[in-house]
Amino acid sequence: MLSAILVAIIATMSTWWVSHVITRTWLYPLWAGFLVALAMGQPVEGMKAAAYIQLTYLGWITAGGTMPGNLMVAGVFGTALTLVSGADPSLAPTFAVPFSLLGILSFQAYMTINSIWIHKADKYALEGDLTKLRFMNYVPSGILSFILNGIPAFILVYYGGDVTTRALAAIPTSIITAFSVVGALMPALGIAMLLSYLSKKKIVGFFFAGYFLTVYLHLDTMAITIFAAIIGVLIYFFTTDKKTGVAE
């Protein structure tokens, strides 16, 4: 019972980012799953399950509010189900992946419903009522996350994983694969949103430069970041120049 409540809280907070000072790492299975492991009193087994899940998501990214799978749900639910069902930690990803994909839907719901509170907040802003505005930022979204994530987590842990395991097993592989494709496509949205903030005709070529340098030269992200920074600095100095002559 206690552990079910604790897991429900973890599940709630891992999506309701009350403050990234605390919750930023709760996005990642390694930490959120470890917390679940502690809550369920099986730290080592749970940690390993969490690590197995984590490893399959090292390339995961969220940009522009979108994500290629709900990593928070994957970490928390995947670890919990592994422990509840007593399965070997190395099987954790098998449990986690369907959650991650279904979780896209719940995240979608969360992101859509939250728009309601912001309209309320608009009203308080107009009135200059800062306290109520603050309330709008924190409370309704928390309750929403509890409903969407906390309650299911409670049920999963409290009523045992049998049903869930069977339910998951019932999902045909073709659906899992289909959701994986959706997940694989999802970063395109986040990246395209950043693109649409950034791209002016003049410089959009750099997007393609980054893309094809990565594709053809197999450079990793760090390398591209370094070269991008060098190029940025050089452009800065070489175009400043225009007004002041060539020499510094």
Partner: protein, 285 residues
């Protein structure tokens, strides 16, 4: 903006933000994504973070209402590592505006909107493309060996880097904003700075696009007895063509002002249908 005004600001500040105010603002910024939503993303969270600043600088309800409202517009950036620089700048601009320097609401929001894109691109790349996979990779190997320091190292390492970077960027923004805000507003200067950061941001998200959108086509067909693997053909033509096509396609939809929710719906339908028809598959890692 006359010279007298500049002196004005330098000589006689009426209200000054304290270090405490700034730290509060910075920390509250970590709640930018609490009431996260597709309509305006970090708008409400950012407004919430401004509360201590606004309370300090403006005393009447009307002033406060006016001040807070400008933060209720669409805003989105990487909020934890790099994007904090924007909040620092905003704080310093508010401070100066409250002290009589002629800075309009539009000035403040154009700085914020100009920088949110590059900082998102750079911040996402640094935090999620570099710091996260390296730390998580190391920590997982510890964890899998049964070592409890695995997750702890991850938690501590990640937070230390995040908070020290986030703090430095916030304070950098505040300082630069304070000294440079006038030149900042000079025609061109802001654009120029935004442009340079955008160049960096564009290159790094180009790299992200190439590595993080994992779709391939599983189509194989045979003409006579020759088997043709379409993905190989595409790769021989232009490697990683599909992720690029997906990105450009979605970008097109965004440019046509389609909402994220609608696009996500499309991605769901396209992804599921294409997968079931055997046209697309996830890239095996």
């Amino acid at each position: 903006m006359a010279d007298s005004q500049i002196e004005n600001m330098n000589v006689q500040p009426k209200v000054k933000l304290t270090k405490r105010d700034l730290i509060k603002h910075w920390l509250l910024g970590y709640s930018s994504e609490t009431c996260y939503n597709f309509e305006r993303l970090q708008a409400l969270g950012t407004a919430n973070a401004m509360i201590p600043i606004i309370k300090k600088l403006y005393k009447t309800k009307a002033e406060r209402a006016k001040a807070i409202q400008k933060y209720m517009v669409f805003f989105n950036t990487e909020p934890s590592y790099i994007g904090t620089v924007i909040h620092g700048i905003a704080a310093s601009m508010e401070e100066q505006a409250a002290n009589g320097v002629e800075i309009t609401d539009e000035d403040i929001n154009s700085v914020r909107t100009g920088l949110m894109g590059p900082m998102a691109g750079i911040g996402d790349t640094v935090s999620q493309g570099i710091v996260y996979p390296i730390l998580a990779g190391i920590s997982c190997s510890l964890a899998l060996a049964g070592n409890i320091f695995g997750p702890i190292f991850f938690e501590v390492g990640y937070k230390v880097i995040m908070l020290s970077t986030g703090y430095s960027m916030y304070m950098l923004g505040y300082k630069k904003g304070k000294t440079a805000v006038l030149s900042f507003l000079k025609a061109g200067t802001l654009n120029r700075i935004t442009e340079i950061f955008s160049v960096v941001g564009l290159m790094v998200i180009g790299s992200l696009a190439a590595t993080r959108i994992g779709i391939v086509t599983p189509i194989e067909f045979s003409v006579g007895e020759v088997g043709i693997n379409l993905q190989k053909v595409l790769d021989s033509l232009l490697p990683s063509m599909l992720p690029l096509a997906a990105t450009l396609g979605v970008w097109k939809l965004i440019s046509n002002r389609m909402s994220p929710t609608a696009i996500i719906a499309i991605l769901f339908v396209v992804g599921i249908v294409a997968s079931l028809l055997g046209i697309l598959a996830p890239l095996a890692q």
